[in-house]
């Protein structure tokens, strides 16, 4: 996977989530991007059941189990500031077996779905983030496929982001952080999505009707 930047696009003043997504996709199409199917990324949250905490005396940790349609046969499991495990889809079956030890936080499933665009060497995914029936925000993922080292192509990615996000262009993602020469991988993208979903979860609900 090439170096990827995942960010949130704020909803435009006086417009709905869906309208803002349409404005963004129209800009992309005018740039010359081609629609190439759809994508979805989802995230389920688990916390250690009270019974396992017992003698350990530590606060329960949150574990996120995520899927990405770009890697349909894989499952990503991660802890905040902790390791990210990449496993095959049988991991979901294992989580069912671990029901007694890890409980799914109520109504915690959050996902983003939308269209996938290809523009030369860039892959752009604009999605609507939903929790249950309500739309909560917009996610924008941009991948520069030929490069796997963040420090080598961040400036190029930034320029491309500015061309269609304008003033909403994000700063360098935290995952690029210290490891300047480390090879970028899918786990880094999932960490970015997890941070985005957590941010959106904490935000006030978007005060417009959900998409119909």
């Amino acid at each position: 996977m090439g170096v990827t930047c995942v960010s949130q696009m704020p909803v435009a003043e006086g417009k709905s989530v869906q309208q803002t997504v349409e404005i963004l996709t129209r800009k992309l199409e005018m740039l010359g991007a081609e629609k190439q199917g759809t994508f979805s990324v989802d995230c389920e949250t688990y916390h250690t059941a009270a019974s396992t905490l017992g003698s350990q005396g530590q606060a329960g940790k949150l574990m996120y189990v995520m899927h990405n349609s770009e890697y349909p046969l894989s499952c990503f499991a991660l802890f905040e500031n902790g390791p990210c495990l990449i496993a095959d889809t049988n991991f979901d079956v294992l989580m069912v077996k671990l029901k007694g030890f890890f409980q799914s936080a109520k109504a915690s499933k959050i996902e983003t779905r939308g269209t996938r665009y290809q523009y030369c060497d860039f892959l752009v995914k604009v999605g609507t983030v939903t929790m249950g029936p309500s739309a909560r925000g917009i996610s924008v993922e941009v991948e520069y496929c030929p490069c796997v080292v963040a420090s080598d192509c961040w400036s190029l990615l930034l320029e491309f982001l500015q061309s269609f996000l304008g003033s909403h262009t994000p700063g360098a993602p935290a995952v690029f952080g210290n490891r300047h020469d480390a090879v970028y991988g899918p786990a880094d993208t999932m960490v970015q999505y997890m941070e985005l979903f957590n941010k959106i979860r904490k935000q006030q609900q978007v005060p417009v009707a959900g998409i119909r």
Partner: protein, 208 residues
Amino acid sequence: MEAPPVTMMPVTGGAINMMEYLLQGSVLDHSLESLIHRLRGLCDNMEPETFLDHEMVFLLKGQQASPFVLRARRSMDRAGSPWHLRYLGQPEMGDKNRHALVRNCVDIATSENLTDFLMEMGFRMDHEFVAKGHLFRKGIMKIVVYKIFRILVPGNTDSTEALSLSYLVELSVVAPAGQDMVSDDMRNFAEQLKPLVHLEKIDPKRLM
């Protein structure tokens, strides 16, 4: 760069329950060659395959009486292979006529940071060992003949010592639940290995 050729919905929560059917036996070291020779004749024609694996068994203790057991296995001689995480359920009791031990099993291939991840989940390593041996296949049946080595210094797989003067022989099949014909096929195959090795259904509870 095209979208992956699958449906938009990611695969979540497999509904298929896979069961492992198992028969076990053992042979003393000096009988190994004759057993390998017979297996080579009976099994599918393929390059003789040997393996050297390091397995760690992790436990998660909760308020339930029995801890949750997970087995993490990695290959020591095939660099780049994924780690193998395995959950094995309690053996299914019931049908005394069933020839093999049947238990629920979930097999997951994972990335290399499996042990760190399991520790973060709250699992603690109970024990570990090294398994070295041979692998054969006949259709869906898998036959492994291996020796278990005790690890003398935790974490150091170089200093090991053999646990016994014998090799463990296991005949297993992983198949969807409800396919009891599988155990008949296994029994028929096991018959052909007599008297070199007697493979039978061994109830782990009876050994404790």
